[in-house]
């Protein structure tokens, strides 16, 4: 090895000596642009910062122009949907000396992160959450007397769950009254709001008569309403993940025999992009219908609008029927439909106060694709069922439900004694 080291040392020295040490090589000096070069060297680290700032300004400018052109509407980013939403919003009615309020809660713990009180004499009622889980909407209306008008507010929430902004949605002051639960829903991108309300006539305010069913563009304030000569009321609204379809439950009174009048509930789907005008019944597609005492508690649309999960209670009534598009129009009588008995647990039907069955329904033909029973007493005066954008997680009276995880609800604190909730 010593020999090798010597050979190496000698070779290196010989090669190095090929450099002529007598040759004049003056110190190179900075040229005429030296001052500029020095300045540039000192500040060249600013280049990426300035470039990034320019890009941000450019993008910001483009977004601002788009916002101005579209009436300032916010377009929340669609949530990935692989995890449970981080927050949920609840509405609490006035009581115990406290004003009505909206609460932003942590989905994992139920802890209240922030609250927004309503104006005195006003109640927050229905709530809805956009897919970004940072934008929420709420219907408010005067508690007693006063004007027959509902107002829809928009709430923006920070990453920490703190309410950063509350403002009324443009064009969302609608003559009417909140009549039923689940009568507010927002499309996943936060652009379209659907609402259901009772009319302002004396009959409507008494719970009957005309109902209002409409959609608002939250950016422009433009509003579309579909008339309903059948006097239907609307609840359980939810949008498909692609924002194309709106699912809702329409409740109408119908005669059963000569003496008896019962409520019929219809699960319907409306294709909003086409904005088909005319009566609700004609513009939408009937998927499934039940007669009282059966009822639909809510709907949670699937991502692509081809499936919808519903909560259905009151199974002791035997007159459920499946409505197929065109069948009702053809005047066919409602017929008993065999349920997916083998997939349902027989001990789950003791009371309509149970949350009931969660049924995943095929929109095309009303078939039950999957059924599970959620046992437990509803903490709301109406059962709660709200889906997230992925269609996988459901917010129910019993807590959070992962439909891909076996169907057992994970209890969430803070759902008791609230009027409505969504995530």
């Amino acid at each position: 090895m010593k020999d090798l080291e010597d050979r190496l040392r000698e070779a290196l020295r010989a090669a190095a000596e090929t450099v002529d040490e007598t040759r004049s090589r003056p110190l190179p000096e900075l040229g005429a642009g030296a001052v500029r070069s020095r300045w540039w060297e000192a500040h060249r680290r600013l280049t990426p910062v300035l470039a990034a700032a320019a890009v941000v300004l450019l993008v910001g400018g483009v977004v601002s122009v788009r916002e101005l052109l579209h009436g300032g509407g916010r377009r929340p980013v669609q949530q990935a949907g692989s995890a449970m939403p981080r927050f949920f919003v609840t509405s609490v009615l006035a009581g115990g000396g406290q004003r009505s309020r909206l609460e932003i809660r942590d989905s994992g713990t139920g802890r209240v992160l922030d609250a927004e009180p309503a104006a005195p004499g006003v109640d927050y009622r229905e709530v809805a959450a956009a897919a970004d889980n940072r934008t929420f909407f709420a219907i408010s209306e005067p508690r007693t007397g006063g004007r027959c008008r509902i107002v829809i507010d928009r709430l923006s929430v920070s990453e920490a769950g703190i309410i950063t902004q509350r403002d009324p949605v443009v064009g969302a002051k609608v003559p009417g009254t909140v009549r039923d639960s689940g009568s507010l829903a927002v499309s996943p991108n936060g652009k379209m709001l659907s609402y259901g309300a009772g009319g302002c006539s004396a009959e409507a305010r008494a719970g009957g008569g005309d109902g209002i069913f409409g959609v608002i563009d939250t950016g422009t304030g433009q509003r579309w309403e579909w008339p309903d000569s059948g006097g239907g009321t609307y609840r359980g609204m939810s949008w498909s993940g692609d924002g194309r379809y709106l699912f809702f439950v329409r409740a109408v009174m119908r005669n059963k025999g000569r003496q008896e009048v019962i409520e019929r509930q219809e699960l319907r789907r409306l294709e909003v992009t086409g904005r088909v005008r005319g009566e609700v019944k004609e513009a939408s597609t009937l998927i499934r219908g039940v007669d009282a005492p059966r009822r639909f508690a809510g709907t949670a649309a699937g991502r692509d609008g081809r499936e919808v999960t519903i909560s259905e209670s009151g199974r002791e009534a035997e007159d459920a029927w499946s409505g197929v598009p065109g069948r009702e129009a053809a005047g066919e009588a409602a017929s008993a439909r065999p349920w997916a008995e083998s997939t349902l647990r027989a001990d789950a039907w003791a009371s309509t106060s149970l949350l009931g069955d969660l049924l995943r329904i095929s929109v095309a033909d009303g078939r039950v694709l999957r059924a599970s029973t959620q046992r437990g007493t509803a903490t709301f005066d109406h059962p709660l069922l709200k889906g997230d954008v992925s269609g996988r997680f459901l917010l129910t009276d019993l807590g959070a439900l992962d439909t891909a995880g076996g169907g057992t609800a994970h209890p969430i604190a803070g759902l008791a004694h609230v009027f409505d909730a969504d995530w």
């Binding site: 090895m1 090798l4 080291e5 050979r7 190496l8 040392r9 000698e10 070779a11 290196l12 020295r13 010989a14 090669a15 190095a16 000596e17 090929t18 450099v19 040490e21 090589r25 110190l27 190179p28 000096e29 900075l30 030296a34 070069s37 020095r38 060297e41 000192a42």
Partner: protein, 163 residues
């Protein structure tokens, strides 16, 4: 750093630095470019050293980096043009250096970059492990292990050539 101090440093170390660069890049012209670039950068952006005695080590490290960049540029250029043998390890150099030295340099050239740099710093500049580590920006322990592997590899390659 004032220009006179830099001038003094340049006068004192330029030949040694150019020779170091020649051993790494293989030709005098490139080596001179590398060293001049280093001193131009030192004028444009003088180093902030708390201990002025560390300046030679700092300049050696800068020359080493300059050589790496020159070799990188050369590899990219050779990807598109005819490859050439830098004079130090070319066949012509055997006339000047002798066949045995040319073989050693050719074997050295084929070593991985880190091993080649470690051997040049140790056996040409006669730096100890700590100084080599400082110039190369690696730990002294790594220098020792690199050196052992480099000598073994060099011996192996020389053995192959002699057979």
């Amino acid at each position: 750093m004032a220009v006179p101090a830099l001038t003094s440093l340049y006068r004192e170390h330029q030949v040694e630095l150019i020779r170091l660069a020649v051993l790494l890049v293989g030709d005098v012209a490139t080596a001179e470019d590398v060293v001049q670039d280093v001193f131009l950068r030192l004028q444009a952006r003088p180093p902030r050293l708390q201990d002025e005695s560390k300046l030679p080590a700092y300049v050696r490290a800068a020359v080493l980096n300059g050589c790496r960049m020159a070799l990188r540029r050369r590899r990219r250029t050779w990807g598109h043009t005819e490859p050439h043998e830098p004079p130090v390890w070319s066949a012509e150099s055997a006339v000047m250096l002798g066949e045995d030295r040319r073989e050693v340099l050719a074997a050295l050239r084929r070593l991985p970059r880190r091993q080649r740099e470690a051997l040049v710093l140790r056996y040409y500049l006669e730096l100890d492990d700590a100084e080599v580590a400082r110039v190369m920006g690696i730990r002294p322990g790594t220098v020792r292990s690199t050196m052992v592997r480099a000598l073994a590899a060099l011996e192996r390659r020389l053995g192959e050539e002699e057979r």
